[in-house]
Symmetry: C2
Subunit: 353 residues, 2 copies
Amino acid sequence: MAQTMVREVRKEQSEDSVITLKDIARISGYSIKTVSRAIHDHPDINEQTKKQVMEIVERYSYSPNWAARSLRNQKTHTIGYVVPNITNGFFGEIGMIIDSYFRRLNYSTLICFTSHSLDNELDSLRSLMEKNVEGIIVAPVGSFEQWTDKLPKLRETPLAIIDNRFNDTSLDYILHDNEHGADLLVDHLVGHGHSRIACVTGPVQESSGFERLLGYKHGLARHGISVDESIVRTVEWEDINGGYSATLELMESHNKPSAVFYANSQLLLGGYKAFHALSMRIPQDVAVVSFDQPLVIDALTPRPTALEKVEKEIADTTARILHHKITGNAAKAPQEIRIKSTLAIGESCDCKI
Amino acid sequence: MAQTMVREVRKEQSEDSVITLKDIARISGYSIKTVSRAIHDHPDINEQTKKQVMEIVERYSYSPNWAARSLRNQKTHTIGYVVPNITNGFFGEIGMIIDSYFRRLNYSTLICFTSHSLDNELDSLRSLMEKNVEGIIVAPVGSFEQWTDKLPKLRETPLAIIDNRFNDTSLDYILHDNEHGADLLVDHLVGHGHSRIACVTGPVQESSGFERLLGYKHGLARHGISVDESIVRTVEWEDINGGYSATLELMESHNKPSAVFYANSQLLLGGYKAFHALSMRIPQDVAVVSFDQPLVIDALTPRPTALEKVEKEIADTTARILHHKITGNAAKAPQEIRIKSTLAIGESCDCKI
DNA sequence: CTGAAAGCGCTAACAT
DNA sequence: ATGTTAGCGCTTTCAG
């Protein structure tokens, strides 16, 4: 007891300056290394000593300097997450799940926004590389060659690609099963007797847009319905007004469709707006399906039929794969994982539920 | 020319290991400090030398080790952003704007989520403190005392509080002018001849919920309308279904309101759903206003009358204030800034536009 | 079980 | 104009 007190020799706390390991050592009277051992639960330390040290650590609410630790260990315990934006529900939710996954492992997530611009994407990747992040998750705008051209070090960084793939099979992709999903939805519409089904999708240069269109076409083909390109529209993703105008156009044609397949929720919302403007009722006058669910699905009337959310599964899978790559437990071969979804029946197709 | 070549003495690149300043020095034949000077555009360096060095820097795409630099400079060039979530349009947008503001200054933003839990908030703040962030922006769940109780160092960290204030005048707040905004909206409804106006707001323990309710009451009072507590509801923010149920309840009463003031966009969306379920038409059967605009406002029919978006102004102001605090150019006294908005007339109140 | 000392990569004071 | 060196805070051999 007296022993404990005796050891506290020097001044208690210099100023408002940050407490370092050295300070704790000075105050406790032990060496720097003993303190370090106490903090890291090293076996080679007397229980008594540890208790004394930890008490002081607590009292001064010491926490190790992260930069010093990173420098020393050559580990930043940080990953990057690079996406077009986060106000979009999809990337926002996935980001939050990935962050919480890695937070449990004591990793931090640096979130970067590209606004769909390749320059921003390159800047983000560069800044992440400079910070020596241990891995990066990207929903890509550019291509892998464009990246490594400017940032060769990226080749040696654990990477996981989501949302869109590119023509490089050396990478790990975690994606929607776009074709399967689109097929399910078209199938559903055909099941309701529709044969003239329009499609509003995103840019076909992106795999997600291309594959959803492909799924739509295959879905029709399986039922012997020929594709009419005049009722297929591609507009920007995340553009409610694109979906709106496309829908108005589609409905103006003399041989107008009886149903519309929207390849994402933004486009669907534009569709809802358009049908309202046209005084067309869903599902009585037109049937509607959406590839994914808008965040505000609970507020929509009628509730749209869409694929079940897969954000959780995509995020968890992506986090797990990236974590394995970081710790070196990765599968030998790069993987392309396709997350299948299921139909979530709503009221937009006149289903009796 | 020959001169240039001569100086490249040693092996080009050891392995795939990271290039350091020392490597560049070795390769270029100059000292470590000369290289550093070249990189930092220091005046004390020969233009020729600089050019040579920079060429090698480019070639090996060297970038400085961030941890080492932070350790040395005692500056992390990082700020924290702590909010309930980012799928919510409000915090997501503000986060993106703040990030881009600080990115321009070569700062990074660490985004943390609290999910409205005090424990998560404390964890987030702790992890940011451990990383020695230079400043933190928080949309708070807990109170300043609860924070500093566990994290005394927080008292010395530049802080900016958004969205909700607490009873501590020593801090900088950047907030909606909630009372003013609510007042404007109620005014608008009264102007349309409504006198029985319901209110659906968020938790009154939070200043935002409390103040919007206050603005509503003052608005009514100014017109000599007495407040009927039976048509005031408080539910959780971000709860479409709360807004939905509250609206259903309100409309069931025998003396039902002719208009509803929704204190945020989530609640409004619940209202839209409820009115649809009740087959009530907006604005013919009921008039509706919302404090803020939902992200999907373009998809809503009728377009709701709501306050103009102020995310940009809040975000810019917050970023500027925090930046000043970090660099020591802060105003002497803590500030409480109130951002006023204006009415954005929609179609939900039967305005002739 | 404990301590001394080197070094991670970078910067800045202090030479030269 | 250029080079030498100490040290930021931490971890980790290697001695005791």
